[in-house]
């Protein structure tokens, strides 16, 4: 049984369709990551999952039951940490106790609030009685997180929980999210630009673009802007001036996104090692990491601010002496680039 199942969901704001998901589900007890550029529909999707917005069309099933945002106690099971962590204009304590008060859970309130604060690394003694305006951005974000954790939700939906906060707060947020999942079995759906974190923690990662889910898995997206070259080719100028080529481009590639699977990329130290049938861009190996859930070795290569994901053979990494910081050639075949077209809507 899936926890969430979305059926022909569409969401519109001001007459514009901002989300359209024909069929999608989230399994219970998993961590689902959502990534994609700003405005791709991540927050819209999370608001639907948190039952704070109703879809314009389609149905959302929660444990196979059709839902309505004001019906039953759905919002007591799933809680959303919105992107703007809005603190209510009251003390930190009353902010965190607000959800408990709504639920009529008065028992051990003080204790529970203090515990929730400690989960995000805030000291109850010095923070509980502070007014909403006496917190730094990171502290406010952590207090908002505590206000969700205190509710012991079954599903926690996090919208950019680490965006725009200091490193320590980001670390605390990640720790609190991980604890909620691994210690209390909370199902997590996380929207984030922190791909590294998502890849470390998530069971599945979904990419979103232009209001659509682009499918599961780790792949590198190149969001353009794309320029048309020749009959069906296109090129994207990376930030450092290099050119990334793709074939089979749509007629009007300007707003489209292209993706390349990790398997289609290979790493080379020297230019002469590049297979002759392939094209290459130059980048820097920025990270080598062990992917916890798959056990694979993952390499991140930065080329003109675009981060490419490759799963190299651990032996070749060892043999050839790849290290983070090494300049590398990233070889690919333009024909293997996949396109995710932006539909032109009237």
């Amino acid at each position: 049984m899936s926890l969430y199942r979305l059926e022909n969901i569409e969401q519109r704001y001001g007459g514009k369709t901002v989300l359209s998901i024909p069929d999608w589900s989230v399994a219970e007890g998993t961590i689902t990551g959502l990534c994609g550029p700003n405005g791709s529909g991540k927050s819209t999707l999370l608001r639907l999952l948190g039952f704070t917005d109703s879809p314009a069309r389609g149905r959302i099933f929660f444990r196979d039951r059709a839902t309505d945002i004001y019906a039953g106690n759905l919002r007591k099971k799933a809680t959303l940490l919105p992107q703007e962590s809005y603190l209510l204009k009251r003390t930190v304590y009353r902010n965190i106790a607000y959800g408990l008060r709504i639920r009529g859970e008065k028992k051990n309130q003080r204790q529970r609030v203090a515990q929730a604060l400690s989960l995000v690394g805030l000291d109850a003694e010095s923070f509980a009685e502070r007014p909403w305006y006496a917190l730094s951005g990171g502290e406010a974000r952590r207090a908002a997180m505590a206000a969700r954790l205190v509710l012991n939700p079954e599903v926690l939906l996090l919208d950019e929980p680490t965006a725009g906060v200091d490193a320590q707060s980001a670390q605390m947020m990640k720790q609190a999210a991980a604890d909620a999942h691994f210690k209390n079995g909370v199902t997590l759906v996380i929207a984030s630009h922190d791909l590294q974190w998502l890849e470390d923690i998530c069971t599945d990662i979904f990419y979103m673009f232009d209001g659509k889910l682009l499918g599961k898995g780790t792949r590198t997206f190149i969001f353009g802007p794309w320029e048309k070259t020749g009959d069906n080719g296109a090129l994207c100028r990376l930030a450092d001036g290099q050119v990334f080529l793709a074939e089979n481009a749509p007629k009007d590639p300007a707003g489209a996104a292209a993706a390349i699977e990790p398997e289609e990329l290979s790493l080379h130290l020297e230019k002469q090692d590049i297979p002759p049938e392939k094209t290459a861009v130059k980048g820097i190996l920025v990270r080598l990491a062990l992917e916890k859930h798959s056990g694979r070795l993952r390499a991140s290569i930065s080329a003109g601010h675009t981060e490419f994901i490759v799963y190299p053979d651990p032996k070749s990494i060892h043999r050839k002496g790849f290290l983070p910081g090494s300049p590398v050639w990233l070889a690919y075949t333009p024909q293997k680039v996949k396109w995710f077209g932006k539909e032109r809507r009237p």
């Binding site: 940490l81 204009k89 969700r148």
Partner: protein, 228 residues
């Protein structure tokens, strides 16, 4: 311009010596402004919330009408209310002309657009993130409304104070509908108008200062509440 200084000392004398005429005007001012504030808040806050919160077709047009009504001239309101409560008017039977409740009707019309427009703006300006936040913490429809009103409390209080200031200081309605009848409908502002016409400028200034002191007391009380 020594009447300014005179006015200042006169103001204290009036208050400290418990001048009967002054206190009658003060009482009339307080009674009528309390009446009109109670009515305009009771009507205006829910309407302002709905206007600021709900999205419905024609909302912007209503908003424009309300904003336009912000510039209703008090003499015009006075004239319109007079036309209604005059013995010959549709509400003539109720004998509201030259009474405090009559003035209060006019002042309610004066204050209502202020309360509606400012509380709608207050609700509008915080709605975006707040609605999602309240819902995500488990609020239902009722909690959502009270939660939003409570978050907007400072702005709503400011709206009430703005309306109160306008109501306390208006003279057109009080003069036209109240008739400035001594011991009955003479408010501080109509008394000032009278004293000025009499050429007793110092007395006029004194009464103006008395009005300011009342306004100060009200504001001090509100700012005390605000800290809670």
């Amino acid at each position: 311009m020594d009447f300014i200084l005179q006015g200042l000392t006169e103001a204290f004398r009036l208050l400290l010596a418990g001048d009967e005429e002054t206190f009658s005007a003060v009482a009339a001012t307080l009674k009528v402004s309390c009446l009109s504030m109670a009515a305009s808040l009771a009507l205006g806050l829910p309407l302002g919330f709905l206007l600021g919160y709900l999205r419905f077709p024609g909302r912007r047009k209503i908003r424009m009408v309300v904003d336009t009504l912000l510039s209703l001239p008090t003499v015009f309101i006075g004239l319109m209310v007079y036309a209604f409560v005059s013995s010959r008017g549709p509400l003539g039977e109720m004998n509201l002309l030259f009474t405090l409740p009559g003035i209060a009707i006019g002042q309610t019309i004066l204050a209502l657009p202020i309360v509606i427009a400012l509380s709608a703006t207050a609700v509008e300006s915080l709605e975006a993130g707040l609605r999602t936040t309240l819902l995500s913490l488990g609020a239902g429809k009722y909690r959502l409304m009270t939660g939003i009103m409570w978050e907007a409390r400072h702005a709503i209080l400011a709206a009430a104070l703005t309306a109160y200031g306008r109501v306390m200081t208006e003279v057109g309605i009080s003069m036209m509908v109240g008739g400035n009848i001594k011991w009955h409908t003479r408010t501080i502002t109509t008394a000032i108008a009278l004293e000025t016409a009499k050429g007793k400028f110092a007395m006029g200034i004194a009464l103006g200062l008395v009005l300011l002191m009342i306004a100060f007391a009200v504001n001090a009380g509100v700012s005390f509440l605000r800290r809670k």
